[in-house]
């Protein structure tokens, strides 16, 4: 009976801590959403200050009548101050109405296509980057000071010095001879799939995968370099820690001690790092989308800035910020699973 009672009490304690954990996750999500909203407001304000959608009308020959310019300004909501204009846009955005582009098209129609393209581009690259980045970091830390470790660190430093917009083109340049030798585009340079092809099923998937290889490498390489450096430092700290020595002292072999006790501790600092740096990697991906002709969020944003289209800039920024929030929240969740101390 007593053991049963103890078991019940233990169960109750567990569920209470689970409730606290879920509460903490929700609080983190709310905080992240708040920051994301502030960032979109900031972008909208910057765009409203900087863009002049009426410039073209003012410089036409013969001159456009002032009444037409005024009417256009009213139609675009330019007679309102920035904050109410943002409020109007946000009220629409919450219900899925993102307003219209500067040339009068509905934005909502393009949202899912743009977001989908970016996710298809970033998901494989990002997952590979985290896996390989952490892998290389741990691998290097366990043989710190060896030639292999020094080489991998030097490579990482070099990769981080190569701008993202150079890396994509360099990959094309390196692969070009292979495509030429094959006489066909083994790995195509542009777009998500071969345009106008009527492939279906496995052939279509294969076609998409072949389009994905080079951009994925371009997205993953700098991130692998970035994560591996941090992971190496984190693992080095764990390697020299007391608890790992204690585990060895208990008679565990080095590999088993590292796997069972060290790995979890070394991975803990990586969760917030991924959350914190994802926005920067997403910004780097804007170049990758451009170079490989993927019409995702980044490409949309840059085009919108060129066209001085505030609504599209706000929509693209909001979607990118939501992606950052989602990744950040996944990192919060990972931290909760990795680190029992965050659960109490």
């Amino acid at each position: 009976m007593t053991t049963l009672g103890a078991g019940r009490r233990r169960g109750a304690a567990l569920s209470a801590s689970a409730v606290r954990a879920v509460g903490r996750l929700l609080a983190r999500l709310a905080a992240r959403l708040g920051v994301c909203l502030a960032a979109v407001l900031l972008t909208y304000t910057l765009a409203a200050l900087s863009f002049d959608p009426l410039a073209e009308l003012r410089t036409t020959q013969p001159p456009t009548p002032q009444s037409v310019i005024d009417a256009r300004a009213t139609a675009l909501g330019l007679d309102l101050p920035v904050l109410p204009r943002f409020g109007q846009w946000l009220a629409g955005a919450v219900t899925g109405d993102f307003g219209t582009t500067a040339d009068g098209h509905d934005i909502a129609g393009e949202v899912s296509a743009r977001a989908g393209t970016s996710i298809r581009l970033f998901l494989p690259g990002g997952v590979l980057a985290v896996l390989f980045g952490c892998g290389f970091g741990i691998w290097g830390a366990l043989r710190a000071g060896s030639a292999a470790d020094k080489l991998s660190m030097a490579t990482a430093l070099l990769l981080l010095a190569i701008p993202v917009f150079v890396l994509g083109t360099v990959l094309k340049l390196l692969w070009l001879p292979v495509n030429e030798a094959a006489g066909t585009d083994l790995l195509p340079f542009s777009g998500e799939r071969t345009p106008g092809s009527d492939l279906a099923g496995w052939a279509a998937l294969g076609d998409r995968l072949r389009h994905l290889v080079l951009p994925t490498i371009a997205i993953a390489l700098p991130q692998i370099a970035f994560y591996s450096r941090y992971q190496r430092a984190a693992m080095l700290e764990v390697r020299d820690s007391e608890f790992l020595r204690a585990a060895r002292g208990r008679g565990l072999r080095r590999g088993r001690a590292v796997r069972r006790h060290g790995l979890r501790m070394a991975l803990i600092p990586m969760a917030p790092l991924v959350a914190f740096s994802f926005g920067l990697h997403l910004a780097g991906g804007v170049f990758t989308e451009r170079i490989f002709g993927w019409h995702g969020l980044g490409d949309w944003l840059v085009t919108a800035i060129e066209r001085q289209d505030a609504n599209v800039v706000a929509t693209a920024t909001l979607l990118m910020a939501v992606l950052v929030v989602m990744v950040g929240w996944l990192a919060d969740l990972a931290l909760l699973l990795l680190d029992p101390r965050t659960r109490t």
Partner: protein
């Protein structure tokens, strides 16, 4: 800080070499970056043009050195500004704590979500025709956040240090404590971050110029040169690879120096 580590020394040497090349190099060349050798348009590297020529027969080496000049000046200025701003915000927030700290860190959080390159890009239509100095200001405005976090953490831990408390007890003003007692303590940390910020600022400038949002023609920077070169990278690779080489070398040199200094700071 140990400046004698090989990685720091290599970085410093490479950086010095690049600064020297950018400042003295153009004087030694027989061409300026605008001279057109119209009989050798888009020519491959040769004795006369060691890095080949561009679309209008401009010497690639002259173009790259000119671009390197602009990139280095922008990078160095932006890095100094970035570091100064983050030092100020970080120390004030860390030392004062309370409401000031919370407000400043909220600003940091919001700005951190917005990648600097996108923020400056959004502002670029308003900047058409303004000087490149505005670009420097903007890069600094959107890049100080990470360093300020580090500085803040250091300032918070120094708040209870004996000499700071002693200064408080003698009635020193906040301004005096921040400028005379806290900031000097941060100099090694700030020097390292400034070096690393040079690398980020050079990359930011290049990225912005790549999209046409940064340095405007007829000015050239390494970013604009890479952008022009990208179009013909697969047909006339030297037009692309020459500025890429200089850009990578610059960023790598600054990063190596910063890393070498940091490891044992």
């Amino acid at each position: 800080m140990n400046v004698h580590r090989p990685i720091a020394l290599t970085g410093a040497g490479l950086l010095a070499l690049l600064v020297l090349a950018a400042s003295v190099g153009p004087l030694l060349l027989p061409f300026t970056h605008t001279d057109q050798d119209l009989r050798n348009v888009l020519a491959a590297p040769s004795g006369a043009h060691p890095l080949g020529t561009a679309r209008l027969g401009e010497d690639m080496l002259a173009l790259c050195l000119r671009g390197l000049q602009k990139s280095l000046v922008i990078g160095l200025l932006a890095a100094v500004l970035t570091t100064a701003l983050s030092a100020l915000v970080g120390t004030v927030a860390g030392y004062l704590g309370g409401v000031a700290d919370r407000v400043l860190m909220m600003v940091v959080d919001v700005l951190l979500v917005l990648p600097p390159i996108l923020a400056v890009a959004v502002l670029s239509p308003a900047l058409r025709g303004s000087s490149w100095l505005v670009l420097v200001l903007l890069i600094a405005t959107f890049q100080w956040m990470v360093t300020s976090r580090v500085v803040r953490a250091r300032a918070r831990s120094l708040r209870v240090a004996g000499y700071v408390v002693a200064a408080e007890n003698t009635g020193a003003s906040t301004t005096r404590i921040v400028t005379r007692h806290l900031l000097p303590q941060m100099v090694p940390l700030l020097a390292i971050d400034c070096t690393l910020n040079v690398a980020s600022a050079v990359l930011a400038e290049a990225g912005l110029s790549y999209f046409g949002f940064g340095v405007q023609p007829p000015d050239v920077s390494l970013g604009t040169l890479v952008a022009t070169g990208t179009g013909s990278a697969l047909t006339f690779p030297w037009v692309f690879l020459a500025p890429v080489g200089f850009l990578t070398a610059t960023v790598l040199a600054a990063a190596m120096l910063g890393e070498g200094l940091r490891d044992d700071a």
